[in-house]
Each structure stands twice: as structure tokens, then as C-alpha cells.
Symmetry: none
Subunit: 396 residues, 2 copies
């Protein structure tokens, strides 16, 4: 039995609100950011909802935004392994065409014997790095293959190759350490031979173009192509759309078949956009970034303020009249760690048929006692479908 | 490691009481039926036991009785996918022999061009439908294949074919929509060719027999045969029996190797029957239907009364002296939904070595905080075995 065998065409509306990086943890000194925040509206939802803790990729695994969101959309993020190149392209809003190959690169320094001396080109700043990437884009030309370089941040670069017969079955070129030369392009299958040959040409062209620059080469890794994921339409019978504003989240949503509605700004505007498109879709995904950014910055006050700002617009979200509403995150981002983390993500599922538990406030420790228990993030979507009356019975 | 490698021959007694359709959910207006019921004996058991919430086929999936019970008996219901035909036969008490093929059918209406105009023969009532099925049973004869029709309810019919070489690898004939003709019998493998041929003969015979009746054909789907499931004896080293009274539950129990003890009536009589057979078996499965029926009817008072009636005989069950007692359900059946549902099932596991948690009342929200946590229904049996001292250590 597969879930897709059970989905029906009930048009009930599902809404997913991702408060990026929401989760954290209480420690010896203080409550988590969510627990410390004043969130009357989220608490009210929690009191009416079933709560739990979600794990994007299993116990102990910290995920990036790509796998975190795939899980929220009902996809096993360990099965659908999106490469760094692809995610990087998505994050920059670079639209890949089928057959394109993307890779992540580092601007790096080499010694006279061609060995890597610095994998980050002297921790180069954004501005000079952007100039170098612009220079590469002007100078590097290959026969029959179109080359695109995009600056990501500091030493980080995105490469996209467009041409016939490029199959990303090659090893990484980045040796991941200093003292060794970049690795020779090597195919891991006969299909990868053409790409390996192109990479040998590319390596020469890059070194030539950089001969008078503050970086000597680009260390490439994570070769990847556009994945053909089964769509949410196909798997779950949904008509999905996103009102997210950042390229990364719009891009991952599009990978699973969501329409990306016109870019707006604040979460309040995202909610207005949902209202305007309510009849055209039955699954709507909104995304608020500020809590994650504050988590990365280790700025506890900013993260608390970001959560409270989301709380303020919750009534507008409820006023849309979703049949089922899920509020959660793609991953935790505790300010103690200044990074994404593996800590389970507080999650609430709200709707008439969901049922309610005894959780009265929205927070990590409260959610641990909720009716949803600890669950895989990817299991949230089936619960949303079921709660919306969109899954038929299995077996007689 | 497989569980069967760890089972020993300790004769400790395991008892499973299924309160069919037990689970429900609290909503904005009221507690669940179990929470609202007055259940001093179940509460006492819960206080002495470890509690949790069980999921028959994973988050969001609503199961029928067949998969729900397979899970309770320790089988993965997604792996052992019993077809509708087989479950329908089991539910009617029609005993399938190895090699028989069973299918579900709908009495349906066709237009002059043979296209389906009504998949339920005008929502035909039981009485005229039963007459039509009796007529089919008299009229339809095939060479070398014995044909049995049984009326299920309204337009629903069971077909059983008995003959040599019938392998149910054929597509459904029911087009699942009006405006199309029934599909041509089509084998999905060379082994299914003989059945496809028989179905072409059958189709002609059915239409001929129904030419003067209030239905024109039978739309068949879910072709299935008796599954050879590994027995509970083989998998778990048990000597299992059931005292259940309804054909569906006796049938599924027999599929996994249980003896079906003589049919009695009430749960109190089932308990007496267990007592009388105590020394011949070490796994005994009792089944009480009333809560599920009330759930389907949406009759909250009746469901509460049904649960309270079970509570009244709990002391008799405990008096049998089981080493381990599990009280749970095959699925939830909230009166709000008038149907089976995906909501997790309150479950208690009682016995000297089980351990106890802080759960003091038997109910959904209380069980959410119990020691068993959220678990797959199929994991209950290993816990019962372990608690009875019937599983050896794995590894040194």
C-alpha cells in the first residue's frame, strides 16, 4: 500500500506555516526562545490543537533548509538527497534546466606546485570575491558548454554547466584539505566521462583566467543535476502553492510541484496573498525567516522578538479558514549554538477533526507531552491529509 | 536478528482484549468517549500498567478491521496486504480453500452500449439485492470452475471462484466511474491468463442471467486468494486461540494460525471460554464489537455505554490470571466522524514485569504521556512476549 492509493479529491484546505529555525532548547540557565516568548495566539492554537515534536531526518541529524522542507512537504529527505550544487542554485534563484549540472565551489589558493594552501582564498570578503567571480564569468569559455558562475558568499561560488550529455557522475575535485592538489576529474560511471572531460577543460580555463587574481582556482564539489521529484499533485492529490519570499524555499517548493505565487514581503502580506489565491489551491505554504536568522546570529532577544512577531499575525492566518493548519519549522536553530541543530521541532496541528490534547502553551517541553508524540517530520503531511478528510480507509 | 530467533518455550499466558473501535478524540466541546466513560476497572489496570498510543498503519492512515487486527497479532499490515475479496469472504464466514479466488463486486446498471450508468444499481436495498444474488447463484455455471456468489450488503457482492490454475494476477474490471464500460479482463502476468479467460466467460454468463433483473452486471475488483501467512506458532512460538464471535475476527485470527474456539455470545461468555481452555493455549484473543458499532452510528451515549459494559467484566478477565494482559483496539472510531479513523489508539499493557507509569486513567490524552509512548500496533506483540519472559537476550 502506498499513501497515493488512499488519497481522494476532497477539496479541503491545508495550510503550513513554517517559522524557520523555530525550535531550541532550555538549558540550565533559561527556557528555550519559544518558551520565553509571549505568544498568546500560538498558545491558544496549541490549546485547541494536537501537539508534538517532529524530527526532520531522524534522531541526532541536523538538516539544512532543503531536506527540512522536503520532509515538511511529505518527502523522506534521506531518500530524496538533493546535492549542494542544486540547493545552492535554488537558494540563489538560479533556475536549472533539465540536463544542467550544478556544483558548489570554493575560491582557493595554490602553491607553485599546484597544491592547495588555503581552501578559502585567505577568508576573502564578499566584495573582492564577487569581482573575481565576475571576472571568471567574462573570461571562461568552453566549446559546446555554457558556463555560469554565481557568487554565493565570501569564498563560496556556484557553478552551472549547460550542454549536451552532462551527467553528474564524477568525483568531487575539492581535496577537502590543504597540501594536496585539486583532484583530477574522474568519472564514477561511463555516463560521467563527458562531464569529466569538460571539467578538465574548465580547470585549465579557470586557472588561466585567475592568473592575475587574488584566488588561484575554484575547488568544485557536489555535482548535481535537477532532480525529477514526484510532485505533491501526483503523490497526494493536492493543488499546492507557496507564498514564501526567499529563493531557497520557493525553489524547494517548486521542485515538488508547487506554484510560486508572486513575491511579497512580510508574513502579513503572505497571508493576504493566500487569501487572494484561496480558491485556486488547496495546500498553501507560508514561510517566515527571521527566527532562523536570529538563531544563526545567536541573538536570543531577536529570536524571541521574531517569534512574537509571528504570533501577532496568527489570527489573520486562522481567519483564512483553513480546514487544517500546521505550525512548525524545518529544523531547530538554538541561539546557544548559533546554528541549525538536531533538537526536535515543536509542532502543532489544528483543525476540527484533529483532536486536542492537554498542551496549553506552544513550546518544546509542552509539545513533548502532546497527542502527536515524537514523529518524523515527513509524517506530518499524511496527518494533515487525514485530518482534512482526504485519505480513504486502508483495507476492509 | 529476527524476533523468532529469540522466542523461548516459557508457557506464560498472554491475553489480548480488543475493544473494537475504542479510540476517539477530545474536541472543543467534549472529552473522547473513553475519557467520558466511567471505567473504574480499566483505570485501575491503567494505574498498574504501562500505557501508550498505538498506530496500526502509521500516521494518518485509517485501517479496516483486517489490517488493524493483523497489526495486533504482530504482523506489518502494509507488508501483509489482504485484498478486499479475501477480507470480504472472511467477514462473511466463507471459508476459502487454497487456490480459491475471491473478489468484491458491485451490482451495477449499464446503458444499451454497455457503459456503466450506475455503479450501485440505483442504491439497491438489501432485499432485492439478495434476490438478485440468489438468482445469479442459480443461473451462472462455468466449465471446470465452481462459482459462488454471496450477498454482502446493498449493492455489494462477494464472488468466489474455485478451480485449477486460478491466479489472481488480473486487473480490476470495475472502471470506478460511470460512462465507461466494464474493463476487459486483463492478466498482469502470464500466470493470470487462465483467470482472465474464466472472467470473460463469467462476464457473459452474468449478463445473460441478469437480462431480466434490476441490475445488469457485477463490477468486480480486488481479486485475491488465500494468503499463506507465517503462523504465530512459527513466528512467536505461541499456541494461540481466539474466543471472538464475529466471522471477520475469527477469520483473520485463523489466517495467522489461531484456533477459533466455539462461538459464544457476550464478552463475559468469552472470558468463561478462555477459562475453560486455559491450559490448552498460551495466547488468547477476545473481541468486543459494540463500541465500534456505536462509533459507526455516531451514537456517543451508546459508545460510552459499550465501554462501560466492557469495564464491568475486567475483573473477570484479571481473575483468569494472565501473565500479561493488553487492552487496546484495532483502530479508532470516533462518534464525531461516524467511521474508523487514523487517531492513535489508547493502549495498556499490564503484567508483573511490564512496569507502570504515572497514567492513572485509561484515556487518549492520559495514554499520550505513558511509558509506551507512541508505537506501531505491530510492536505490541513483542512487548507482550518480553513482559511474559518469552524473549531471550539478543547478543552477549
Amino acid at each position: 500500500m502506498q499513501l497515493r492509493d488512499l488519497v481522494n479529491d476532497n477539496p479541503a484546505h491545508l495550510v503550513l506555516l513554517v517559522i524557520d529555525g523555530l525550535g531550541g532548547y532550555a538549558d540550565a540557565r533559561q527556557d528555550s526562545e519559544l518558551e520565553a516568548a509571549t505568544t498568546p495566539n500560538l498558545d491558544q492554537l496549541a490549546a485547541e490543537a494536537a501537539c508534538g515534536l517532529t524530527l526532520p531526518a531522524g534522531p541526532g541529524v541536523t538538516v539544512g533548509s532543503g531536506p527540512g522542507h522536503l520532509a515538511l512537504f511529505g518527502y523522506d529527505p534521506l531518500e530524496y538527497d538533493l546535492g549542494r550544487g542544486l540547493l545552492s542554485a535554488i537558494g540563489l534563484g538560479v533556475e536549472l534546466r533539465p540536463g544542467d549540472v550544478a556544483a558548489r565551489g570554493n575560491l582557493a589558493l595554490l602553491d607553485d606546485d599546484g597544491r592547495v594552501t588555503d581552501r578559502r582564498a585567505g577568508r576573502i570578503d564578499d566584495e573582492p570575491a564577487r569581482a573575481i567571480v565576475g571576472h571568471l564569468q567574462q573570461q571562461v569559455r568552453l566549446d559546446e558548454v555554457e558556463v555560469t558562475f554565481e557568487h554565493v558568499s565570501e569564498h563560496r561560488v556556484l557553478l552551472v554547466l549547460h550542454g549536451d550529455g552532462l551527467v553528474p557522475q564524477v568525483e568531487d575535485l575539492d581535496p577537502q584539505t590543504t597540501g594536496l592538489p585539486p583532484r583530477e576529474p574522474t568519472a564514477t560511471s561511463p555516463e560521467g566521462e563527458r562531464l569529466a572531460m569538460v571539467l578538465r577543460q574548465l580547470d585549465r580555463a579557470i586557472r588561466e583566467a585567475l592568473s592575475d587574481q587574488a584566488a588561484d582556482t575554484v575547488l568544485l564539489r557536489g555535482f548535481d543535476t535537477l532532480h525529477e521529484l514526484p510532485s505533491m499533485q501526483e503523490r497526494f492529490g493536492l493543488r499546492p502553492a507557496t507564498v514564501a519570499t526567499y529563493p531557497m524555499y520557493r525553489g524547494v517548493a517548486q521542485l515538488v510541484g508547487m506554484d510560486a505565487l508572486p513575491k511579497v514581503g512580510s508574513l502579513a502580506e503572505q497571508i493576504e496573498l493566500m487569501a487572494a489565491n484561496w480558491d485556486n489551491y488547496d495546500y498553501l505554504f507560508a514561510h517566515e525567516k527571521a527566527a532562523d536568522r536570529a538563531g544563526h546570529d545567536g541573538d536570543r532577544d531577536a529570536k524571541i522578538a521574531a517569534i512574537e512577531a509571528v504570533d501577532a499575525v496568527i489570527p489573520d492566518l486562522v481567519a483564512l479558514g483553513p480546514d487544517v493548519l500546521a505550525v512548525t519549522a524545518d529544523h531547530s536553530a538554538p541561539t546557544q549554538l548559533k546554528a541549525h541543530s538536531w533538537h526536535p521541532v515543536p509542532t502543532l496541528l489544528w483543525g476540527e477533526k484533529v483532536g486536542r490534547d492537554d498542551v496549553r502553551v506552544f513550546g518544546e517541553r509542552a509539545c513533548a507531552t502532546g497527542l502527536l508524540g515524537h514523529l518524523r517530520t515527513q509524517d506530518l503531511l499524511p496527518l494533515m491529509l487525514a485530518s482534512a478528510g482526504r485519505l480513504e480507509k486502508y483495507g476492509a
